[in-house]
């Protein structure tokens, strides 16, 4: 919403700095193969973060995305094994995401349970429900048309790239130019004022959770076709990566302020780090610690920026 891009620029500058260090010390990092791997590995985080950004902008949180991610992948795999067309299996996986997101949204918006509580409960219930249903077994012996969605290994990343571009553009554009997007910012910065202005804040809250469920389903399906087995424990800790990327990208955890561009940059910055450590010869065990440090740095910078802004506003 803001017309300034200060936060986005500082994340972009960090990415650039990291890229320069890598270019100087480990030029192999920029091989096409490595970059493609990096992109495919972070695609789920990116897609889900687009939804999470909206949830957080609305002033809510969804920590059940990791569990939903695992279920959506399994659902798509199991459906494809029944012999139905791949397209139906894909839609089934996405529909599962929409359904689970809608349950989260309904409980938050209409039953008025805090979103951290709702999604904590669904995170655990869905994860353990899946473990019980699959007995921990992975889904394997997938039909040939399922892998790469029947595409060649070379054209699949192109499909993924197009999908990601479309969703980034759609959410970024929608938040800025659609009435619903405006309602997201208004609700997140002052829910009561938004309600008094005639915005149906309940429906909006329900909507952002359902959309996040849909994006999680899409991410899960697109990710599961990359392998010949679908793990029943996929997406462990995914919610933290996603939330971290959104926060590093400058979205206020209290809602109302942030952008899609920031979220994309946040995903890129956090996604670059792990492999970068390997390339620089640093132990990969440092990855999480470094990511944590980046998150802290981001929020501390934001806290100082906000204080400075308030001082300006008062003067």
């Amino acid at each position: 919403m803001r017309k300034r891009y200060g936060r986005e620029l500082s994340v972009a500058a960090s990415i650039l700095a990291l890229a320069l260090v890598l270019a100087a010390l480990a030029p192999g990092y920029f091989s096409g193969e490595n970059l493609a791997d990096l992109f495919l590995a972070n695609m789920p985080v990116l897609l889900i973060a687009l939804g999470m950004n909206m949830v957080i902008l609305t002033g809510q949180i969804d920590i059940s995305v990791g569990s939903m991610f695992a279920i959506c992948g399994i659902v798509a795999g199991v459906l494809s094994k029944t012999g139905m067309p791949v397209a139906c299996a894909v839609l089934g996986g996405v529909a599962a995401g929409v359904g689970m997101g809608a349950v989260n949204g309904a409980l938050v918006a209409y039953v008025r349970i805090p979103s951290i509580v709702v999604t904590l409960a669904t995170m655990v219930a869905l994860r353990d429900g899946l473990r019980w249903a699959t007995q921990g077994a992975w889904v394997s012996d997938l039909p040939p048309g399922f892998q790469w969605l029947g595409l060649s290994q070379g054209s699949y990343p192109v499909l993924i790239a197009c999908t990601v571009v479309i969703f980034v553009a759609a959410t970024g554009w929608g938040l800025r130019h659609l009435a619903a997007g405006r309602a997201v910012y208004a609700t997140g910065s002052n829910a009561e004022a938004a309600r008094l202005a005639g915005i149906d804040t309940n429906r909006l809250t329900f909507g952002v959770f359902a959309v996040t469920g849909a994006l999680t389903g899409i991410a899960a399906v697109l990710n599961s076709v990359r392998f010949n087995q679908i793990p029943s424990n996929a997406g462990l800790g995914l919610e933290l990566k996603v939330i971290a990327a959104v926060v590093v990208g400058g979205t206020a955890i209290t809602g109302g302020s942030g952008s899609t561009a920031g979220t994309v940059l946040g995903v890129i910055l956090l996604g670059m780090i792990g492999p970068a450590l390997t390339f620089l010869g640093v132990s990969a065990y440092w990855e999480q610690a470094l990511q944590g440090a980046i998150i802290l740095a981001a929020v501390i910078v934001e806290a100082f920026r906000e204080r400075a802004e308030k001082r300006v506003a008062r003067a």
Partner: protein
């Protein structure tokens, strides 16, 4: 031994002097905004006066803060008791009275004994181990009084203690006040119920516009004299009120009631071009009535008739679709979205007017915002500035712009000029008049009697969720409005 306090030149208070003697009940009365709350906050240390002195038992108190006030024996009991709902009665009392480090051990049975004894001294019997959330309102007040007794308070401030009590509960409260009094405490008693005041008070001080109007012995004044003291000011400002031709009835309420909103059987009508003032004390149901009409709280029975058609309004979106606009009280919390730019605030309730197929047309939005910024003379360099950067008066204009952008037929304004500077205030009055001249029906809720008298064609006075009476512009006086609001027809 007298307890004396004097103030001069306190913010929102202009040289108020007030003294309280030990063992007396001193009533403090005045209209909404007369300065009663501020005066109390000065005594309890919640606000610091700019000038003036506070003396307790002859000693000047400097640097009063809530902790100091407590150790000096000042206790305040508010209309809504400030207790910890999830703790027991004994714990609540102990928290107020015990002191010491975080590692001291707690003697639970001594706590309960103490609580029991204090409650008995307050003339009641409440089990000390009950959770406060299970207590009724009068029981919670007893706990507050027990705290005051336990603290050996020399000054007990009671702010509208009877507002939510039944008659029997009031008389038992008065017995407790008698106990406090005979123990030598001075009691400051704030209430809008004049009949109670003549029963309980020894002396009465009237405040108006932050000034002391006078202190009288309760025996020597009657209600009419008190009301005259509370009002007693001429309509000083010049209001831009003009006579405009009135059209058909735009909004009519027939027997509107809502349990959640606490309104009962409200009937009123407002015509095109008319400004209907709604007066009444804070808590008389004025805002709740507006919220019911706007679909924020459900109506249980009654009808809302717009331009002759019976309508159902179940949400703000319904109300907007029917051409009702509502500029709420407290713009920081409910009016403008401080982080959004002026343009987005202006278009927030009328996004369909600046969008095509759901897509916001930025140019149209800018044009809309600029039109109202110009019309309402909002002082800002650009419509892209965040609403939070504006002054109070300009924020109120942006809140108004949002509703004007919906082109409403009926506009409800709740305290439209509260907390805005004098210049913006008369500008807002001028805008209201122009809107009425354009045929809009305006409902103005206001606590400021001169504003109500100066701007309204007709005035509806509310009391306890119902309409207490209606006055025409020619008949209305501050005395009549206040008498109706207080429930004492002159």
């Amino acid at each position: 031994m007298g307890i004396t306090k004097s103030f001069a030149g306190v913010r929102a208070l202009r040289g108020v002097s007030f003294e309280l003697r030990a063992g007396e009940v001193h009533a403090l009365i005045g209209e909404n905004g007369a300065g009663k709350s501020t005066l109390i906050k000065v005594m309890t240390g919640a606000v610091t006066p700019d000038a003036g002195t506070l003396r307790i038992a002859g000693r000047v108190v400097t640097d009063n803060d809530p902790g100091t006030a407590r150790t000096l024996g000042i206790a305040a009991i508010y209309q809504q008791p400030a207790l910890f709902a999830h703790l027991t009665v004994a714990e609540n009392i102990a928290l107020a009275l015990e002191s010491g480090g975080a590692w001291r051990t707690v003697d639970w049975s001594a706590r309960e004994r103490r609580a029991k004894e204090l409650i008995a001294r307050a003339g009641a019997a409440i089990q000390p181990d009950r959770l406060v959330s299970t207590l009724s309102m009068p029981e919670q007040q007893i706990v507050e009084i027990a705290k005051a007794i336990g603290a050996e308070a020399k000054v007990v401030i009671m702010d509208e203690p009877t507002a939510s009590l039944t008659e029997t509960e009031v008389s038992s409260l008065f017995r407790v006040i008698g106990v406090l009094k005979s123990g030598g405490a001075g009691i400051i008693y704030i209430s809008h119920r004049l009949e109670e005041i003549s029963t309980i008070a020894d002396r009465i001080t009237v405040l108006r516009d932050g000034e002391t109007i006078g202190t009288r012995d309760a025996g020597e004044v009657n209600r009419e004299q008190l009301i005259a003291m509370m009002v007693g000011r001429e309509v000083a400002a010049v209001y831009p009120k003009r006579d405009v031709p009135l059209g058909a009835v735009a909004l009519e309420l027939r027997g509107l009631s809502g349990r959640e909103a606490g309104i009962r059987d409200v009937s009123l009508r407002v015509r095109q071009g008319e400004i209907l003032g709604i007066a009444g004390l804070v808590g008389s149901g004025r805002t709740q009535l507006a919220e019911t009409v706007f679909g924020l709280t459900p109506a249980d029975s009654g009808e809302i008739v717009l331009n002759g058609a019976d309508v159902r309004i179940e949400s703000p979106a319904d109300a907007i679709a029917h051409g009702i606009g509502y500029v709420p009280e407290d713009r920081r919390q409910h009016g403008v979205v401080l982080e959004l730019p002026i343009a987005a605030n202006t278009s927030l309730s009328s996004l369909d007017r600046v969008s095509r197929q759901g897509l916001i047309d930025s140019a149209a939005e800018q044009a809309l915002a600029e039109r109202y910024v110009t019309q309402l003379r909002v002082k800002t360099p650009t419509v892209d500035a965040a609403a939070g950067t504006l002054s109070g008066g300009n924020q109120q204009k942006v809140a108004l712009a949002r509703w004007l952008a919906t082109e409403p037929k009926v506009l409800i304004l709740d305290e439209p000029t509260q907390g805005v500077d004098v210049g913006s205030k008369s500008e807002i009055h001028g805008i209201m008049m122009d809107l009425a001249a354009g045929g809009m029906a305006i409902v103005m809720i206001s606590s400021e009697l001169p504003e109500v008298l100066g701007m309204s064609d007709r005035i509806v006075v509310m009391r306890a969720g119902s309409v207490a009476g209606e006055l025409s512009r020619a008949d209305a006086t501050q005395e009549k409005i206040l008498s109706m609001a207080l429930g004492h027809p002159v």
